[in-house]
């Protein structure tokens, strides 16, 4: 057991690893195929051009080696796309979103909603043909922990986005409401208990000012 001295039972905590992942839309696999197809088509075109326009053919075996590489890469890409589609998925939980992806490097990222800065739904050209969308989730400070989940139906993407936004709003309003009432109570207590307090506050303020002034002076004199 890693955590000791605990009121809550670690085993009772919701587990990320045991959730069932929602797969992306079936058509997303087609989107990926089309993307790869275009990519390898361009590469293949480049190869053909190089055959006619450059002197690759002068080195024996170089051209066919490149063609072999092209085929191997295309096959590897096809296999990885397939496997990647099976692995890629998300779990929408009450308080956070879990995203899993990657074949060679399998990653699982979880972003709690109360750390989300904003959400966006976007769409690529190929995705548009199948009416699929990408949900992007942004956190503060650079793009390291930003998430993007592609291959979502328009309806699903919007609903998740709204769900997350509602969650973030909910969190903050509850928080501030709670703290505000707290602060109000406190002010009342202070007012009723001590009528001489303004003077004390004034005095302490002056003291603070003096201190500030002194330190400022000392900093200046050092310079």
């Amino acid at each position: 057991m890693i955590f000791e001295n605990h009121e809550i039972n670690i085993d009772a905590l919701p587990k990320v690893e045991t959730g069932t992942f929602q797969q992306l839309d079936e058509n997303y696999l087609v989107v990926r195929y089309i993307g790869s197809f275009i990519f390898f088509l361009i590469l293949g075109f480049g190869l053909i051009m190089s055959y006619f326009l450059t002197d690759v053919t002068e080195v024996p075996g170089l051209f066919w080696g490149l063609v072999g590489l092209w085929i191997a890469w295309a096959i590897a890409s096809f296999v990885l796309t397939n496997l990647g589609y099976k692995i890629r998925g998300y779990i929408l939980r009450d308080k956070d979103l879990v995203h899993r992806k990657g074949v060679i490097f399998k990653t699982m990222t979880t972003i709690p909603f109360n750390r989300v800065q904003h959400c966006e739904v976007s769409q690529g050209i190929i995705q548009r043909m199948f009416d699929l969308h990408t949900l992007q989730i942004f956190t503060a400070g650079g793009s390291n922990s930003d998430l993007s989940i592609p291959g979502l139906k328009a309806d699903t993407a919007q609903r998740i986005k709204e769900f997350i936004i509602n969650k973030t709003v909910e969190e903050t309003t509850i928080e501030t409401a709670f703290l505000e009432t707290d602060a109000e109570n406190e002010i009342e207590v202070v007012a009723s208990e001590d009528t001489a307090s303004p003077e004390i506050i004034k005095e302490s303020n002056e003291e603070v000012e003096n201190l500030k002034f002194n330190t400022e002076k000392s900093v200046e004199s050092r310079e």
Binding site: I2, F3, V16, G102, T107, N144, L179
Partner: protein, 510 residues
Amino acid sequence: MQKEDAYNFSIPKRQSPIAIFLIVQKLIEQIIRQFWPILLVVILNNLDFQTKGSSSSEDPYMTRILFVLGGISAIGSIIAYFKFYYYITDDEFVIEKGLFQKKKINIPFDRIQTINFEQNLIHQAFNVVSLEVDSAGSNQKEISLQAIKREEAEAIRAFIMTEKAKSQSVVQKETQEVIIEEERPNILMRLNPFDLIKVGISQNHIRGLGIIMGFGFWIFQTVIDFDFIDENNPMDMVEHELGLGSLLSFWVYLILALIIFSILISLILTVFQHFDLRFFRTKAGFKVVSGLFTKREESANINKIQFIRWEDSILKRIFNIFQLGLFQASSAAVNIRQSINIPGCYADQINTVRATYFPEEANLNYSTHQISPLIIGRRVLYLGGIPALILLINAFFHQSVFLGIAALLWPIGIFFTSRIFHKNWKFHVSEEGILTENGIIGTQFTLLKWYKVQAVKTRQSIYQAKKQVADLYFYTAAGTIKIPYVPLAKAQEITNYVLYKVEVDGRSWM
């Protein structure tokens, strides 16, 4: 407080006219930095033409283009200056700028993370500062003023920070308490010249060495270009000049000179950067003032500090000093500027900062964990095996025994350092935060409170998945902390706990 009344921030104002100089200066610097090879060619060509007396129509053409470009940008900067206004409303800092496309940037006070000042020589001569307002958020809104009067800058900072504190005091009782407790900025540390030398000597000298090597290489190339040395075998010349016996001592001297020069360069850089460094504890957090020619003032608000990191090295350990870094939330991707670095800290100061960042730490129990020993094998394979293979191929082609021996020794060396690497990698987990500890020669400590985390990731390669280990990442608004090769069950337990902690903890994390 009276100071503030002297300025009416709500009226749109231009910067101090000195800003024009600074903008032009910056521009020239940028041009030189980006186009120095072209400039060098132009200048060298000029010299060449002068000496040889031949003229070319191409060269003055190029110079003219450069001058025209420079002129256009200079005029552009001046217009930009006159079209640049800043002012402060009740709750926002606003900038209006742009000639053709008017742009208005406003940053609400509660978005403002820090306000930093900087003074280079020109600034100092005219008693102005450049002011930089950093805001969090991925939309990269940042404000920077090139030059305004120092007093005004201070008044602006004081005004914004008070307003910010006022608006926050309603929401956050906790921070208010902290502020009241520590009203006075007290100096935690000051680098005297002796300390400065210690810091300089214990710097990482590789950078200095790199500068020298680059410079030396450049000179060597130039000299060869000018046919002063026989290109085919420069060493022959040295041998010829010094005699065969001196060749060895030539190398010894050369290496000694390299070492001394790199230390000297780090020393000079350190003095420039950290001269008269003062490290303050202020009411809101920490403040660092330093610099010889360019005075820099940086501050870190306690709430904005996401994690702290301190490290030593062999040399630093001799002097008992650490380098401390405060990593705070920032808008742009994390770079060195956003983390405040304080070199030459003693254990005392580290403890103060640690206690301020993580007051709960004193009452916590840490449980210590190690990373999986599988990392040793992987490091030997990747860091040892691949370079060894390349060396071996080279040794085969060049029939070199030396390279062959190197190919054998390299992985062995990697094996032993990897063992140390594994042994030294520890992470200490507690209910409220984590302390990591790693390094082969020196040790780097990183302290992170759980509620500062904004995303958790586990990453497994195929091998790691098979062996049930994972790399664990904690993302914060100030950067990422990675723990490699954590046993999977542990990684999952920590992930679930941290997520629980982040979701339950109501404190504002930045």
